[in-house]
């Protein structure tokens, strides 16, 4: 390839369809014309002036007989990250990623200098996982920064970062991170194979990859873990999981995923074990309440009045008397109301949301009850189950579907149907193995060693072995 400062520049511009943000500057360097070509929005102007143009103009050493490209590489830009390209296409690709191309007239190669302007928001506590005690850093949208956040915590030579590029149109950078000696080699291989085989136009967020990574497609249940916090990611990697970081997304995917992960919280490891055991029991009860409570209520009302204690029955009878709808319609109505309120509340601007939640939950509910449209127990039960969703926020979206199913089954078949529904879900999830890990481990299959950190938690010093529930390098099992 022969570079002509002007022609090549024009060629590049043509390649990019004369996009308006492609800029160029030309300087004279010992009589040779040098063109600098860059994309303005992603190039740091100050750096461009200070590290490229200024040294070029002020360079005063002898250059006799030497190739200008070599001089630029070895001397002028010695303190910069410079890449040498021999073909135009790869140079342009790099330029799109933030490099400034240096086109030297009559040279054989093109130089690329990385002076990308990184626009990033400040590292802040992610709103999805707020902790009381513990680190407050969260991932940002920049892959580089995110890796920095991880590297800051991990100073081992064992830590591996595998970089990939996905998306025909977006060319998104993806980093697969894991501990070489801890992660299961086969799983790493599998994940890399799956990622490499992805053919997609663009990867805009890490969740674009989820459907390629999960075993059971079209399933309601979550099969890939996600986190927004570096401390959680490192914790998970130390247990043998693999992290997948996507440039432009603050959410990092983790694999393999088991259901228990959502029952745990990073807070758990920073507080007293006894308290944690209690809280986890509470979460489990929360799951049952969230999913089954409205279903059980409707079943009791439609079929099983004989189960209720008489006093309780009288209370319910008195409060449901005179409601114009049938119990099933009534509860569906209330659920619908709550779901709408929920959906509207998230999307609403924050200052608006506060007022809205008061109007929605309090006034709407209150008036509906007062007007005799719905009964107080129905409102109470749906509200209770709605609140308990967020005791395990990671599963909230699935729970709301399961709850609806529970209500339909409860209304059709009563308690018996709900019980069969539960068995069905358990049985369905028992077969949900992915990446060599059982979804319901360590409960089914029961793994005694892992009970130390399942429904109860022992102290950190008692957790000497890595969990067997998820696939990791079994030979390197000791935590210390």
């Amino acid at each position: 390839m022969k570079v002509d400062a002007v022609k090549t520049l024009n060629e590049i511009k043509r390649k990019l369809h004369d996009s308006g943000d492609v800029k160029s500057r030309t300087v004279q360097f010992f009589g040779t014309q040098i063109s600098l070509c860059y994309i303005a929005p992603i190039t740091d102007n100050e750096l461009l002036n200070n590290t490229l143009i200024y040294p070029l103009i002020n360079f005063s050493d002898e250059i006799k007989g030497k190739d200008i490209v070599d001089i630029l590489y070895d001397k002028v830009l010695a303190n910069q990250e410079v890449t040498i390209f021999t073909d135009l296409q790869s140079a342009v690709d790099k330029m799109l990623a933030g490099n400034t191309l240096i086109l030297v007239d009559c040279a054989e190669k093109i130089l690329g200098c990385d002076i990308e302007k990184i626009t990033v928001r400040a590292v802040a506590e992610p709103p999805t996982s707020v902790v009381i005690k513990g680190p407050r850093e969260g991932f940002t949208e920049s892959l580089k920064y995110n890796l920095a956040l991880i590297r800051k915590r991990v100073k081992s030579d064992d830590f591996v970062v595998k970089m990939l590029e996905l998306g025909k149109m977006t060319k998104t950078q993806i980093a697969v991170v894991y501990y070489d000696s801890i992660a299961d080699k086969e799983v790493v291989k599998d994940v890399l194979k799956r990622l490499n085989s992805i053919k997609i136009d663009g990867v805009i967020d890490s969740h674009y990859l989820v459907s390629y990574l999960q075993r059971n497609k079209n399933s309601l249940f979550k099969q890939v873990g996600d986190t927004e916090k570096p401390d959680i990611l490192v914790g998970k990697m130390l247990e043998g999981r693999i992290g997948i970081i996507v440039d432009g997304s603050p959410i990092v995917l983790t694999l393999p995923f088991i259901l228990l992960e959502d029952l745990q919280n990073s807070d758990d490891y920073y507080t007293q074990p006894i308290r944690v055991t209690f809280v986890r029991a509470l979460r489990l009860v929360g799951v049952i309440l969230a999913v089954l409570l409205p279903g059980v209520y409707i079943a009791l009302e439609l079929y099983h009045y004989k189960i209720l204690p008489t006093e309780f029955l009288i209370t319910i009878m008195n409060s449901t008397q005179g409601i114009p709808f049938s119990p099933f319609i009534e509860i569906l109505f209330v659920i619908l109301l709550f779901e709408i309120l929920y959906e509207a509340n998230i999307r609403m601007p924050q200052y608006f949301g506060m007022a809205m939640s008061i109007v929605g939950a309090l006034i709407l509910g209150e008036t509906a009850v007062n007007a005799g449209l719905v009964s107080p127990p129905a409102v109470m039960i749906v509200a209770l189950s709605g609140i308990t969703f967020y005791i395990i926020p990671g599963q909230a979206s699935q729970f709301s579907i399961l709850r609806l199913l529970g209500v339909v089954i409860g209304a059709t078949l009563g308690i018996y149907g709900i019980l069969l529904f539960c068995v069905f879900i358990l049985s369905y999830l028992s077969n949900f193995d992915s990446y060599k890990s059982a979804y319901l481990a360590p409960t089914a299959p029961y793994i005694e060693e892992d009970q130390k950190d399942s429904y109860m938690r022992k102290t950190i010093d008692e957790m000497k072995k890595r969990p067997r529930s998820i696939s990791n390098n079994k030979e390197n099992n000791n935590r210390r």
């Binding site: 059709t412 149907g417 049985s427």
Partner: protein
């Protein structure tokens, strides 16, 4: 898709308590009166011993499934006959559990019902679980097992104060004859180890601890006996009128409240246990059908099993009456052969076959040695 030894123990435990808390205690009382506990105790201990006999066979079979194993031992013809017998046994158990479940659900929870509607979701569930295989059933059992155990102990302890110990006396008033009668008539409710036949080749014995299985079997026997003790102590002479042991105990344990409180949670857990058991025996039935008719895929046997299950929703009204007509005579013989005679026959045949094989092997080795010696001689001769 193998299951581990712990899971096997838990399935065995569940199978041991599966049929015991419905109509069985009240039926036993009709024949053996206040000595009924001994009947169930004796039969359960025998069942427990047979678990280990069949496990021994299972280990011997290695990776082979029951069909290949029996074919090796007994030949194709006999194997097929035995399979038919096993199918009958499983079919009986499936029918018994499904009918028990139906009456239990209807009696305890519903006022108006149509079993036709109720059996459809059950069919879906059983079909799904059987399709997913024994590991699935094992894992579900693992999860629900402890809730059931806690529930059973809870209702037993709650009712324990109302027991009149005198009602168990005098011991053996009419001799032991009624006990044998009772044991024979109600044999089909026992034989809880027969399901193990269909797990040949599906169990991973690597993490085996024999004590684990022994513990679970003993625990199952104890828990059944505890509940029977409570049942007979509580109801004494009216025991035969209580056809749903578990719900009746929990109902009458308190003085003036119906199934309120937590008891209905126990009742619910029991329904779950029954559903899981139904899946286990349906799986066995599907497997046996598959072996018998050499069916390649999994779907056809499952469909047959599910339709069989559906068929039961048209049969019968009363467990007790059905038991009298159907289970007592014919089912006892089937159970007797399938559970108590077959394993011993297999053990003996296996032992004989192995002995002859070993002998053959020995003779062959001797021959080989001779040949080698001769060859050596020849070689020496050549060298010379």
């Amino acid at each position: 898709m193998k299951i581990n030894y712990r899971q096997l123990s838990i399935i065995t435990f569940m199978s041991f308590i599966a049929l015991k808390f419905l109509a069985l205690p009240s039926l036993l009382y009709l024949e053996s009166k206040n000595m009924s506990m001994f009947v169930s105790l004796a039969l359960m201990i025998i069942d427990g011993l047979y678990v280990f006999v069949i496990l021994d066979l299972m280990k011997k079979s290695g990776e082979k499934n029951i069909y290949e194993f029996m074919k090796n031992c007994l030949g194709t013809m006999l194997t097929k006959i035995i399979l038919i017998l096993l199918i009958l046994k499983y079919a009986l158990v499936v029918g018994n559990i499904s009918k028990g479940l139906e009456f239990f659900v209807v009696e305890n929870l519903y006022s108006e019902y149509s079993w036709f509607v109720f059996v459809l979701p059950l069919m879906i569930l059983i079909g799904f679980m059987v399709y997913k295989g024994v590991r699935n059933i094992a894992r579900v059992s693992e999860m629900v097992c402890w809730a059931i155990v806690i529930g059973l102990i809870y209702i037993a302890l709650k009712a324990l104060s109302g027991i009149d110990l005198l009602s168990f006396l005098p011991f053996f008033k009419d001799g032991v004859q009624p006990l044998f009668n009772s044991a024979y008539i109600h044999l089909s409710w026992f034989g809880s180890a027969t399901f193990l036949f269909m797990l040949f080749g599906f169990v991973d014995f690597r993490s085996e601890k024999k004590s684990k299985m022994i513990k679970y079997v003993i625990f199952a026997i104890l828990i059944v006996q505890l509940l029977y003790f409570v049942f007979y102590g509580l109801f004494e002479i009216t025991s035969p009128t209580h056809n749903y042991c578990i719900s009746d105990i929990s109902q009458f344990s308190s003085t003036y409240s119906a199934i309120n409180e937590l008891s209905w949670l126990v009742v619910s857990m029991w329904i779950v246990a029954q559903a899981v058991q139904l899946a286990l025996y349906s799986y066995c039935l599907a497997q046996a059908l598959k072996f018998l008719f050499d069916i390649k895929g999994n779907i056809l046997p499952i469909i047959i099993v599910i339709l069989y299950l559906f068929m039961w929703s048209f049969i019968g009204e009363n467990t007790v009456r059905m038991e009298r007509i159907f289970f007592s005579s014919f089912a006892s013989i089937v159970t007797l052969i399938a559970q108590y005679i077959l394993p011993i026959i297999l053990e003996i045949v296996y032992a004989i076959k192995n002995k002859t094989k070993r002998n053959k092997y020995k003779i062959e080795r001797v021959k080989d040695e001779r040949k080698e010696k001769n060859r050596d001689k020849k070689e020496i001769e050549v060298n010379i």
